[in-house]
Symmetry: D2
Subunit: 414 residues, 4 copies
C-alpha cells in the first residue's frame, strides 16, 4: 500500500494574519512554548509557514515597508512540534532528532519572494556602513527559476531551503545564551575600534516583550510576561540549530539536531527560495512563504554519542548536516578575494569576517561596472547561489576569504 | 605547425640545495629583486619549484623536522619573471596580468608530499591551542590520488594548485604593507581577550634579514641588507596575490593580477597537491615540489579599469580569479557547523574566524569517533578537498560557518 | 505585481475514470483531434495527467494487471492544447513551439508509481526473450527519493520528466508515418534472422479503432471511425516529439517542437518519476500520474530556420532540447559494456541495439550476484538514473554500448 | 619511504620509426605474440605509446595523408605486458586483471593530435555516405584544453583516455572471433537493403598478413606467417576489451579485464586527448601519442566469479569499468534527437544505430547554421565531450537516440 500523502500538521492560510492562523505561530525560543502538534517518527508530515516577516514586505516597488518593518516580531516560526517514537515515547534530552527534508517549496499561489537591504537604523546588514538605506528587490518564480524586475538580466535556479530549523532549548541552555549575549552587549566589541568601523548594528538582540509571540500562550498574561522576558530571539543560529542559513539544505538533506527538552519541540520557518553564502544583506535570501515535507527519526542518546561539547557544559554542541544530492550544475565561476585589511587600510588579525567583507565589496565593485547599481549587486550576491569560502585562515596576519559567483546566473534568460 | 613544448624558464634540480639552483630563488616580496628570466605574452612556459620549505621536511615518520624547521626562510619562490608583450614592451604599473594555468603537477620522481601541524612554539596553526605539538603526515601519490601511511583508510583525488602566485609590490605598496602590519604588531589585538583565547602566534611577520633570500642579490651586501630590511614576508596573501591558498586554482584557472612594477615580476611557489579550505593546520596542504605551465596576457590599464581600490590608495586592490572546469565529482557531503561562541563559552560578535574554528573542532571530534586520533583528523581536514563556508554573517551575534567534507574520501581505497 | 499562479488548463480528478474527466483525454496522434483548451505564449499554465495506463496498474503485489493490461488504449494524453501568441494569432505550420518545463511532479495524494516487465504475449520489452513473464515493482516517493518494497536496499532521487510531449502531426506527416510503419510490418525485418533472435514483439503498432480515444470526438460516430483508422499510435517517438523518453527532460528544460498544424496542438502525458536510458523493460520508467507547469513561446518560421529535414520531405525533422541545470550529483559509476555479438554468438554489424542489449544483460548478471533476482535488476535498470551510451559506432563489426550505473543508488537508505 | 617513480616498462622514442623502437610494437591480437616486458601487481609502471597510426598523419593542413593512410597497419599497440603477482605467479586464465589508470597524458614534446574523416574508399566512417572525402583537423593542447586552427571558436578540456586496452585472447577465443566475423563477411547484412543504405564500408576486417606486426616475432618467418593469418585485427572491441573507446576512461578509472592466457598479456594504445561518444568519424577522437601510468591487481578466479558468459561458451564475457571522479563540469547541454527512420524515409525496427545516425546528422545540420562547414561539425562531434545516449529502445518501431553537446565548448576561448 502506498504511504499516505504527508499529513498536514501545520496549515497556513495566507489570507489571514499571523495571529488568525489555525495553529498559533511563535517568534522566540523557550522550553515552555507549548507544542501545537505532534508527529511520529517515520511518518511524513507537512508544515506550512509564512515568510519570516509574516507578510510585512509587499510585492511592490517601494522599500518603505523594509525601512519601517518591525523587527521585534521576527522570525515567525511554525511549531513547536512534539516528536514521539512509534511506541508513543517522546524524544528525550540527550537524543538526536534526525530530520529529513523530503520536499519543500513555495506555497501554491504565492510564488514570489523578496530580498532587501535593511536600513542602517533598522536592522542593517553586513555592509550597512556602505549601503545604509533600505532597498528591495522582488523576485518571481518560474518553476525552479527566479527573476526580478528590479535586477534585470539575471535568472537562476533556486536551492530552496528553510533558513531556520531547530529544537527548543532547555532552561539551562537558554540561561547560557542569555548570559553570554548580555555580556557581549555590556562589555563586548562595541568598545573596539575595529567593530565601530565594521558595524553600527546592535551587538545582540536580548529578550524583550516587545513583539513577542509565544504560540498558545496568551499575550499579556503573567506567564507570557515571564517567558517573554526569558525567551531568546531567533536572529542568531545557536546550539539548537535555529537560524543557520545553510544555503544547500534543500531536498534530500538530513539534519541531526540535539534534543534539549522532552518531545524535542521542533520549529521551523524563514523559507528561502535561494541564498548566497553569508546572506550578506541580512534580509538577504529570497524570502518567501512555503512548505516543508519532513520525516523524523529519534537517535536515542545520540547527542551524547555523536556530538562532542565544545565549551564549559555538555550543552555546547552544534547540529550535523548531510547535504542532499540535487543541486544546479554550474560550469564557470568568477572568484573575488578579500584579505583582512579593512577599507580604512587597517590590518586585522586573521579576521575572516573582514576578509569576506572585502571580497563582497570587490565583487560588488566589479559587477557594478556592467550596468548594475551597487545596491543591485549587493542584493544579488545576498540571494544568488554564490559560495563564500574561507580559503586561508592561518597566514598571519591575513585571512583570505573568497566569493565565487556562477557566471551562468547572468545569461540564463528564458 | 604545433606550438613548441612549453619553454622551461625556471628549472629545479631536486638533488641540489636551494642556493645551488641554476636560477636563484627568493623568499621575500620587494620591487628590487631582479627578474631571473623573461617571458612573452602568448607563449606557454614552464616553471619548476621546490616545496615551500625547500626540502626541510623529510619523507619519514619523525616530526622533529617540523618542530625545528626554520620558518624565517619560507616560502621559497621561483621567479621573479619579467613579462613583456609580443612587441617587447613590458607590463606596466596599472596593467592587469592574466595568468592561465595550463598544466601543473608534482616534479617527476618526487611524487610525494607532507602535511604538518606546526609546534606552538614554531609557527603554530589555527588550532594551536588545541594541538600544540608538531605532527606530520606523509602522502604518496598514485596519479590523481593521494594516500598516507599516517592516516590509513583515506584516499582522495587532488586538485593541484600553487599556494602562492603574485606580482612584485611597488615601493609604495610595500610601505603600506609594512606600516599596517607593524601597527598591528604594536597596538593590535594582542591586547584583546578574544585574541589571546584564539592564538598565541605572532600577529604579523615583519621584515627581517634572518633567513632572507633575495635571488640574484648577493647575501650580505649593503644592497641586500637594505632590501632585506624592507622586503615583505611571503606568509600572508596581500594586494599582489601571493599566498592566497585558493584550493580550486587548478588546471584551466585564470588569475588576473594587478601589476605594480615594470615587467610585473611574477613569482610563484608553495605547490599543493590538495588543500582543504582554510588550510587549517598552517602547513596544512599536501605540500610538494612541482611544476606549472603558464600562459600570460597583459591587459593594458586593466587594473584601473577592472579593479576598484578598497582603501585609502589606488593600490588597495585584490586579484580576480576564474576557476577551471576540472574537478572531482563528489556526491555526498557531511557538514559541520560552528557559531561565533568560543570554547570558553564566550560570545563573539559575527566573528567568522571563531565560527569556523568551532566548525573544524566539531568535525575533528566527530571523525575521531571512528578510530582516528584528533591530530590525524586535524591533518586530514587541512589537506582533503573539504569546503569551508561562511554560511551566515549577519545574524547578530553569531556568524555561522560550515565545514563540508566529501564522504567519498573515506572509501576510495584502491 | 507577482505573476498569477499557473492557470490550471487541464485538471485531472484521480477518483474519476479517464472518460469522466472534465476535459476528455486522447491516445492517438491526429490533426483533427480538437483542442480541449487554449493558452497564450508567455503565460505559465498547469496540465495534469493520468499515468500512461490511466490507473490500470494497481498499487499491490500482483502482476496480473500488468499481464492483462489493454495496451490498445495507451498512452492517455492530456491535450491537445491550442497555442496562440499574445495577439491571439495561433502557431502556424513551419513555426517552432518552445516549451519550457517550469515545474512538474506527482499529483498531490498520488505519490507512488510502478515499473513493470510486460508479458511476452502482451507488449514485451527489450529483453522479452530473457524475461518473458509479467513482473511489477511498486515505488513510493519520499520527496525527491523513490524506494520500492519489491526491490529492497535501493533508494534514489528522481529526475521527473514527461515521457511524451509533442505536437499534432499534419495529415501529410501522418500519412508518411502510416506508410513507413505499414511497410515495416509487411516487408520488414520480421523476415530476418537477427530480428527473430532479438524480439518476438510487434514490429509496429498501426492505427486501429480498438481502444481508440479521440478526446472531444464522440466514440462510434462516422468521424470517429474515420479518424481512428488514420490516427497514429503514441508508442514510438517521431518527428513531432511524442514518446521520446529523454530521462533528463526535467525542471528547467526547454523543448523546441516543430509545428505541423494551426495552433500546434500540444499534448503530453506518460509522466515518469525516474527513468534509465533506454527504458529497457518498456513499462520501464517509474510510471505515475502528475502535473506539468509550462510556458510556451512561438518562434515564427523557426522550423524552417533551425531544423533541417532529414529525409524526402520537409517534414522529416526532429525536436531540439535544452536540458535543465538541476540534477542529482553522482560520484561513482559502475560501467558495463556490450558489443554487437548476440547471445547466440552471432556477429552483427555495428548494431548499437544488440550491443546495448548485451551491456544490459551483463549488468543484470553482475548485479544479480548480490542478492537480487534478475527480474529485480531488469526492473531497476529500467527506472534508475543509469546512462546508456553509444561509446563506439565505427569499429566494424562491433558497436560498443555501455551502461553506467551510479553506485549511490544502492546505499542511500534513509 | 616514498614509492619509486613509476617504472618505465615500454619507452617510445618519437624520433624513431615504429620498427626502430627499443621494444617492438604489435598491431594484432594473438595469444602467441610474446610479452615484451613483465610487471608485478601493486607496482606503478609507465607505458608510452605512439599514436594509433604511428605518425602516419602529419601536423599540417593537407588531408592527403588521411586519404592514403595504410589501415592494414593499425592500431600500433604497446605490449604485451606479462603480469605476475608479488610471488611471481602469473595471471591465469579465469582470473580478472584489475588495471587502475593512475595517470596519463600526451608525450612531452608532442602536445598535439588529429581528428580525421576517412575517405569512403579507405576506412570510411559512421556518416561516410554523407561525408565521403578525407578531411583532417589538427588540435593543439594548452594544458587541459585543446583548440584547432581548422575549427575556430572552439576550445574544450580533454578527458584523456586510451582507446584500446585489452588482454590477449586465447586460441579458442580467437577462433570464435574469426569464425563469427568471417560468417558476417560471407552471409551478413551486406545483402540487406538497410545496410547498403547505411554503409559502404567493409563488414569486418579479417586476419591478413598485409601490414601485420607481431612484436618480437620476425616478419616473414613461417611462425609469423602462421600467426598473421590467425591474428585478429584490433579495429573492434571484443571480449578482451580492446578498442572499447569509452570516453570517460580517464584518470582514476579502473578496468576489470578477463584473463585468457597465462600472464594476461596486457596491451594498450590508441590514446585519445578527447572523444565524443560514438567516435563517429572513425578516426574521430583527438588522436595522439601518449603515456599511461598503471597499477595492476590480479583477482584470482574473478572472471568466473564476477563475469557471466553471454553466449555459447564461457569466453563470451565483457570487461567491467569503474569511471574515475575527475571530469569537466558542464552546465548547459544542447540535445539533438534521432529516431530509427533513415534519410530515405525508411522505417527501421528499434535500430539504435540508425537513430543515433539521425541525431548526429541533426546536430551537424543545426550547428552548421552558425558558420561552420558540415565537415567541421562532423569532426567536432567526433572528438568533443558530447554524450551519445540510447534514450528509448522499446517503443516500436522507433529507437530514440540523443546527442548532447555541452555548449561551453563554444565559448571557452582562452
Amino acid at each position: 500500500m502506498a504511504p499516505p500523502t504527508p499529513r498536514l500538521v501545520i496549515p497556513i492560510d495566507l489570507k489571514k494574519k499571523p495571529w488568525q492562523q489555525k495553529l498559533p505561530l511563535h517568534n522566540r525560543w523557550h522550553p515552555e512554548i507549548p507544542p501545537v502538534t505532534e508527529i511520529k517518527t517515520g511518518e511524513m508530515f507537512r508544515i506550512e509557514m509564512v515568510d519570516w516577516t509574516a507578510g510585512s514586505i509587499q510585492d511592490n516597488n517601494s522599500a518603505i515597508d523594509v525601512k519601517t518593518v518591525d523587527l521585534s516580531t521576527v522570525h515567525y516560526l511554525s511549531g513547536p512540534i512534539r516528536v514521539v517514537d512509534t511506541d508513543g515515547n517522546p524524544a528525550e534530552p540527550g537524543d538526536l532528532l534526525a530530520v529529513e527534508i523530503c520536499n519543500l517549496g513555495p506555497l501554491p499561489g504565492d510564488e514570489w519572494g523578496f530580498t532587501a537591504i535593511f536600513d542602517r537604523e533598522n536592522g542593517g546588514g553586513f555592509l550597512t556602513d556602505h549601503f545604509p538605506r533600505a532597498t528591495k528587490a522582488i523576485w518571481y518564480f518560474e518553476g525552479i527559476y527566479a527573476y526580478s524586475p528590479h535586477i534585470p538580466g539575471v535568472r537562476f535556479p533556486g536551492l530552496i531551503h528553510p533558513g531556520i530549523i531547530g529544537t527548543a532549548p532547555s532552561k539551562e541552555l537558554l540561561n547560557i545564551w542569555n548570559e553570554r549575549e548580555r555580556k557581549l552587549e555590556e562589555t563586548g566589541p562595541r568598545s573596539l575600534k575595529l567593530c565601530e568601523v565594521l558595524h553600527s548594528r546592535p551587538l545582540a538582540n536580548l529578550p524583550s516583550t516587545k513583539g513577542c509571540i509565544l504560540g498558545k500562550i496568551q499575550d499579556g498574561t503573567p506567564e507570557w510576561i515571564r517567558i517573554a522576558n526569558e525567551a531568546a530571539r531567533t536572529i542568531p543560529g545557536r546550539e539548537n540549530g535555529g537560524n543557520c542559513d545553510i544555503k544547500n539544505l534543500s531536498r534530500g538533506s538530513k539534519i541531526y539536531l540535539p534534543v534539549f527538552v522532552e518531545g524535542a519541540n521542533l520549529s521551523t520557518g524563514d523559507m528561502h527560495f535561494s541564498q548566497g553564502d553569508g546572506e550578506v544583506s541580512f534580509c538577504g535570501a529570497i524570502e518567501m512563504s512555503g512548505f516543508l515535507e519532513l520525516k523524523c527519526e529519534i537517535i536515542r542518546n545520540g547527542m551524547k554519542e555523536y556530538l562532542t561539547p565544545m565549551g564549559p557544559t555538555s550543552l555546547h554542541v552544534n547540529p550535523i548536516f548531510e547535504i542532499g544530492p540535487m543541486e544546479p550544475r554550474f560550469s564557470e565561476w568568477l572568484v573575488f578575494e578579500g584579505i583582512s585589511v579593512d577599507e580604512s587600510g587597517q590590518q586585522h588579525y586573521l579576521d575572516a569576517s573582514v576578509a569576506y567583507k572585502r571580497a563582497v565589496l570587490n565583487a560588488i565593485d566589479y559587477l557594478s561596472k556592467f550596468g548594475y547599481s551597487k545596491e543591485q549587486v549587493y542584493l544579488l550576491l545576498s540571494c544568488c547561489p554564490c559560495e563564500g569560502r574561507i580559503s586561508g585562515i592561518v597566514d598571519a596576519p591575513n585571512a583570505v576569504a573568497t566569493l565565487a559567483i556562477p557566471t551562468a546566473i547572468f545569461d540564463q534568460m528564458g
